[in-house]
Amino acid sequence: MWKSRDEKPLTSPNPQPLAPVVPAPAPAPTRTVETPRMDTYRADVAHIGKSVIIRGELSGSEDLYLDGEVEGNIDLHNHNLVIGPNGRVRANVQAKDVVIHGKVDGNVTGVDKVELKKSAMLNGDINTQRIVIEDGAFFKGAIDIRKAEPKVEASRPVAQAAAAAITHSTPGASSAVPAEKK
């Protein structure tokens, strides 16, 4: 009496010609959090993860990527430091190149260069030869640009060596402050 309901086949026995594929509308542009390009993930770069908390003196003789929390002092002497987006530093920082994505309360000395990325928040003074600040970075403090000391090489004339020591850096929309002053 009751006819069982015909179940529709999952696929049509007579395949229809495929409709032209309409590309899905592109999602509305959203502001993405920049993930820092990790040349810092190289094997020769020490990595401190975001769950790590260090209180005291942090020093080393290799490049460091720091995404955790440090309270005290950081001294990497002639090596580079990247403070990741999760990095929270309450310390004076000294390194060759310092790149900041996270938050720093303390004075920052970059022997060569200090770079504030757009997510950076720095409360403290900067002392360096060159500085790069991305639009959107927050900075409260003083900036002292040191004059580059010309490197003298025995095999090259002094003037030539001095010219080679001065570099300019202008990545993307940010601007760099060269070492020499007019």
Partner: protein, 216 residues
């Protein structure tokens, strides 16, 4: 005002994170030109920029050989830590004492020059006079101060701009986070507010802005 509405789409203002306004509007500035002349020599001066962090400002000032200090006073003045609930008759008020204890903390007569931009127009009322007094205190005698003030024609919805130094005589304006224009000063109000300064010069700028160069 119509110019601004057309430029930014005419809709209600949205809150911008610092640096999100992508359009840079060039503007010649006679006031800034005079300010630059005042700080040109000698190098090694201390210059305080009270606007949002601007790499072009830092670049320009350090190229002159000066030491740059940066403090975004307006951002600090609008932080929730300063709001005291229900003390004023009309609601919340600002903890002025706390602001002065935590912000603009410098030794007296520390600075040779101060870039104030249009800070006074956007500061919460209780902070205007204390901030101007503090800036006077931390500026050296004969130190220069550059301030901008909106004219009445700017209208109450005048957007807040960040000022980037382009060169000795030109600035670039970039729409910043949404801060409400709190008031419009008349010339005599400006003179009264900065009465402790020895010299005051007014320059009529573009887009309903007056530029004021003061010498302490």
């Amino acid at each position: 005002m119509g110019f601004f509405r057309n430029l930014f789409g005419g809709g209600p203002q949205t809150a911008y994170a610092p640096g999100e306004g992508s359009v840079l509007i060039p503007r010649r500035s006679t006031g800034f030109q005079h300010f630059t002349q005042a700080i040109l020599r000698p190098d090694g001066q201390r210059v305080l920029d009270l606007g949002p962090t601007s790499s072009s400002n830092i670049h320009f000032l350090t190229e002159l050989g000066h030491k740059v200090y940066n403090e975004d006073v307006l951002m600090a003045a609008n932080e929730s830590r300063l709001i005291v609930s229900g003390e004023a008759e009309d609601g919340d008020t600002i903890d002025v004492a706390r602001f002065l204890a935590e912000d603009l903390q410098y030794e007296p007569e520390s600075f040779d020059a101060v870039l104030m931009w249009d800070l006074c127009d956007y500061l919460p009322e209780p902070l205007v006079k204390p901030v101007v007094e503090r800036i006077h205190q931390i500026t050296k005698p004969r130190g220069a101060l550059l301030a901008f003030f909106h004219t009445r024609d700017a209208g109450p919805e005048a957007p807040y701009y960040r000022y980037h130094i382009k060169n000795e005589e030109a600035l670039e304006l970039q729409q910043g986070p949404h801060f409400k224009l709190q008031r419009v000063f008349q010339n005599r109000h400006v003179e009264n507010l900065f009465r402790d300064y020895t010299s005051i010069k007014f320059f009529l700028g573009k887009e309903n802005i007056r530029e004021v160069l003061l010498v302490r």
